[in-house]
């Protein structure tokens, strides 16, 4: 077909009639006379025809004048929030990697409110083609300044002209995106005259072809007239672009790696139910043991010390131990900055009934690894309760007549076992001995699960035995 005939025909990738468009007129677009969007739409639709891409294409309509792009494109259509098109497109392409994504955005959408989304989608090399229509103004909302508005340009929010001192300079998106590694094709084109349109057609086709060939992210910035926003006659807008816009936004290809670039593959594999169960470890039940006495069957435990002393691990091991002896258990850490230095504590509850409050305010068993924690928590220990404390670190013996106090040189015993870091396991050994409720086989299992390195397991096994032996000799 001759170019002249082609140019007056509606592309197949556009609906024959615009049924979604409200009102009587179902054949013309909603764009103003002289607007660039209609031309850009047509160039995209023609490229989709040429490359036979429309069926697999999902077209993302933004906020701005092109919010209604879904009136026109015969593709799957999704309309999205202002600036978020690249994020939405990322979600779509990850879900269906075989889709072709078009993110069509204006300058407010892409270059202002959506700058984070466009930069990061480009940087991840998402499989999408972005058409960024830069008309240097906010058309739909009433002619306000865009990030691309030229210095001196008057808009409804720069009534005296844009000034660097107040609004900064116009932002050059294509150049910015081109410096990222992942994008495969980045260009700036224009639709202000026939020659420019011919070049824009090439860029648009190339960007879509890159996606069809699985190469990843491409962006074409397209300078477009907005006579309504600029408040000039449509016929004068081409000259206005030549004179004012092109010197600030030069045309050209800023990056073209369409030849030679490896494709991006994010294909998914569907996992079977068996794989899910196996990966989550739901196919094996933890070993089960019987309590040899009921002393620990209902117990509220508070463990406290410095961050890094293994307080959380100690509490978790106790919780596992309780669970494996058929008890209802909960473990609750102090969390956040406290874990990154300073004091740490955790609550462990054993119960024969479902656990009510998991917060231990008044412990039956208090396990203390440092001085400040002793001062803080000892008053809360219930009368008749048990205090186990690290006497290697805490020199002054705690004073409470109404509780059982077990002083354990935990750090020294751990050091003898091979590492001071095993002091928590020494304490664990003391606790299980003091109560005598739990199966010895259960602790060995637990240690082997928690410490997978043979060397560290060896040290902790020694620490456990040292703790148990120490408790027996009290």
């Amino acid at each position: 077909m001759k170019q002249a005939e082609k140019s007056i025909q509606k592309p197949k990738s556009m609906y024959a009639r615009f049924e979604r468009k409200p009102g009587e007129d179902k054949t013309n677009t909603h764009y103003c006379p002289g607007c660039g969007h209609g031309i850009v739409h047509k160039l995209i639709a023609e490229a989709l025809d040429t490359l036979d891409m429309a069926e697999r294409t999902v077209f993302i309509s933004p906020v701005g004048c092109s919010v209604f792009a879904y009136y026109y494109f015969d593709c799957g259509n999704i309309q999205v929030a202002h600036g978020r098109a690249p994020a939405v497109a990322s979600g779509v392409t990850r879900a269906n990697p075989g889709n072709f994504l078009i993110s069509y955005q204006g300058d407010g959408d892409l270059a202002a409110i959506g700058t984070a989304e466009i930069i990061h989608a480009a940087n991840r090399g998402e499989k999408m083609t972005v058409f960024f229509v830069n008309n240097s103004i906010y058309g739909m909302t009433g002619g306000q300044m865009a990030p691309t508005t030229l210095l001196g340009q008057k808009t409804t929010t720069t009534p005296f002209g844009r000034e660097f001192m107040n609004e900064g300079n116009p932002i050059r998106i294509a150049e910015m995106i081109a410096i990222l590694d992942a994008p495969v094709y980045v260009a700036r084109a224009s639709v202000h005259n026939i020659k420019a349109i011919m070049q824009a057609r090439k860029s648009i086709t190339k960007a879509l072809q890159a996606q069809r060939d699985g190469k990843g992210f491409a962006l074409v910035e397209i300078l477009a007239p907005c006579p309504s926003g600029w408040k000039i006659d449509p016929q004068e807008s081409a000259a206005w672009v030549e004179k004012n816009v092109l010197p600030v936004f030069p045309l050209g290809e800023f990056k073209d790696e369409t030849v030679g670039r490896e494709g991006i593959s994010r294909a998914r594999n569907a996992a079977s139910d068996e794989q899910i169960i196996s990966l989550l470890g739901l196919d094996t039940a933890p070993p089960h043991f019987a309590l040899s006495n009921p002393k620990a069957a209902s117990l509220r435990v508070l463990c406290a010390g410095f961050g890094g002393q293994g307080i959380m691990l100690l509490g978790q091991m106790l919780a596992h131990l309780g669970m494996r002896h058929g008890l209802e258990v909960s473990w609750l850490p102090s969390y956040g900055p406290e874990m990154r230095g300073g004091t740490a504590n955790c609550s462990v509850v054993f119960s024969e009934e479902a656990v009510g409050s998991p917060i231990v305010e008044y412990p039956d068993l208090l396990v203390i690894m440092n001085g400040p924690s002793l001062d803080k928590f000892l008053p809360a220990l219930v009368p008749g309760g048990v205090l186990v404390y690290n006497s290697s670190i805490i020199e002054n013996a705690p004073r409470r007549e109404d509780v059982q106090i077990v002083a354990v040189p935990a750090s020294d015993l751990a050091l003898q076992a091979g590492s001071e870091r095993a002091a928590n396991i020494v304490m664990f050994g003391v606790i299980v001995s003091v109560y005598g409720s739990f199966s010895e086989e259960a602790y060995s299992h637990l240690l082997a699960e928690f410490f997978t390195s043979e060397k560290i397991l060896g040290i902790n096994e020694k620490a456990l035995r040292a703790g148990m032996e120490y408790a027996r000799n009290i």
Binding site: P22, Y70, C75, V88, R268, L332, Y335
Partner: protein
């Protein structure tokens, strides 16, 4: 049975329910949800992506949902504030998605301690426009799993976003969880946009520029929310049969209240617990039924009087309610809650 954190249980539930993608941004005390997702999703051929922002994350969810798959995100209050834009768009475009909020203390950056002060944010909206968010309130690691699964089912059934509203304690706490078998009940989604011949005519949008069309769309949404309100109220009672006082509480506060009920009964005060499992729809019918025979109603929450508003609205009988609250990242101490209930029962509060 496995001992896991509440935050981990969310991801176990999501994977079992067939969730195909997780998009999120780290924030304490919700981050373990992202950590667990990052570990498991890719190993099962599914997508985990740490987004550049909460806004991007919720919009990736919007895209994945539009593409027809089960998808989710999770955060805590400050992040949910950013995601609220997306919640409104998801509700408007009728896209199913699951959003987990593990509440911390606010307002502003606040701190990372547990609070329940995002109640109004989640239950009363958050985003703009006429929409409702189904809000599930777990009180254990088990329910973090079960309610995540339920959230996916409700989201698909009603084509609307569903929130799981937990707090720092419920998220951080480890408990034994009995996990169900894989239960991907995703229905066919003929409305999705999948980039194929069958779904090519589809269009997902929340813009209805024509006033009459938007009125009709709103009316349809309102009917849908009315149906949800009629069908999906959930609650659990504990020791309410002979109760003279019922404590209304959810999340960590309901765990404390449960212990307080036991301790009060040991002293001869017949206390029971009314625990909403859905905060929207609020279990009005259940509460009204209980309130007919339980004379005294007491509300406990980690916020400055948000849950109590819904209790008042539900009862609508002008009765005086007992109340205990704390905030600042601090729980209500068990003995403080106990004393407040005793005073209320004795007519001193």
């Amino acid at each position: 049975m496995k001992l896991v954190r509440g935050n981990e249980a969310v991801i176990y539930g999501a994977l079992l329910a067939g969730c195909q993608s997780y998009y999120g941004y780290p924030i304490t005390p919700a981050s373990e949800i992202a950590h667990t997702a990052a570990y498991y999703f890719p190993q099962l051929g599914r997508t985990f992506l740490q987004a550049e922002s909460e806004l991007a994350a919720i919009n990736m969810v919007y895209g994945a949902s539009a593409a027809g798959e089960r998808t989710m995100t999770a955060s805590s209050g400050p992040g949910i504030s950013l995601k609220s834009e997306g919640l409104s768009y998801l509700a408007g475009a009728e896209l199913p998605a699951v959003v987990v909020n593990v509440m911390r203390a606010g307002p502003g950056l606040g701190n990372i301690g547990p609070e329940q002060s995002d109640y109004n944010q989640m239950v009363k909206g958050g985003g703009h426009g006429n929409y409702r968010l189904i809000v599930l309130a777990p009180y254990s690691a088990q329910e973090m799993c079960d309610m995540t699964i339920l959230a996916f089912e409700l989201a698909d059934r009603y084509r609307t976003p569903v929130a799981v509203l937990a707090d720092g304690v419920i998220g951080q706490m480890m408990e034994a969880v009995r996990f169900p078998k894989p239960c991907d009940t995703s229905p066919a989604k003929p409305w999705a946009v999948r980039g194929d011949a069958a779904t090519r005519p589809n269009c997902l949008t929340s813009i209805y520029l024509d006033f009459d069309s938007l009125e009709a769309h709103n009316r349809r949404l309102i009917m849908k929310f009315a149906e949800i309100e009629a069908r999906e109220q959930r609650w659990q009672g504990y020791m309410l049969d002979d109760a003279e006082v019922a404590i209304v509480a959810y999340g960590v506060t309901s765990r404390e209240a449960k212990s307080v009920c036991e301790s009060l009964r040991a002293d001869g005060i017949k206390a029971g617990l009314f625990r909403p499992k859905t905060l929207w729809p609020f279990p009005k019918e259940g509460l009204c039924e209980i309130a007919e025979r339980v004379p005294k109603i007491f509300v406990a929450e980690l916020s400055m009087g948000m849950l109590i508003d819904d209790v008042r609205l539900a009862l609508n009988d002008g009765r005086r309610l007992g109340f205990a609250a704390n905030y600042g990242g601090k729980l209500i101490r068990g003995d403080a809650l106990r004393n407040a209930v005793v005073e209320f029962v004795k007519g001193q509060q």
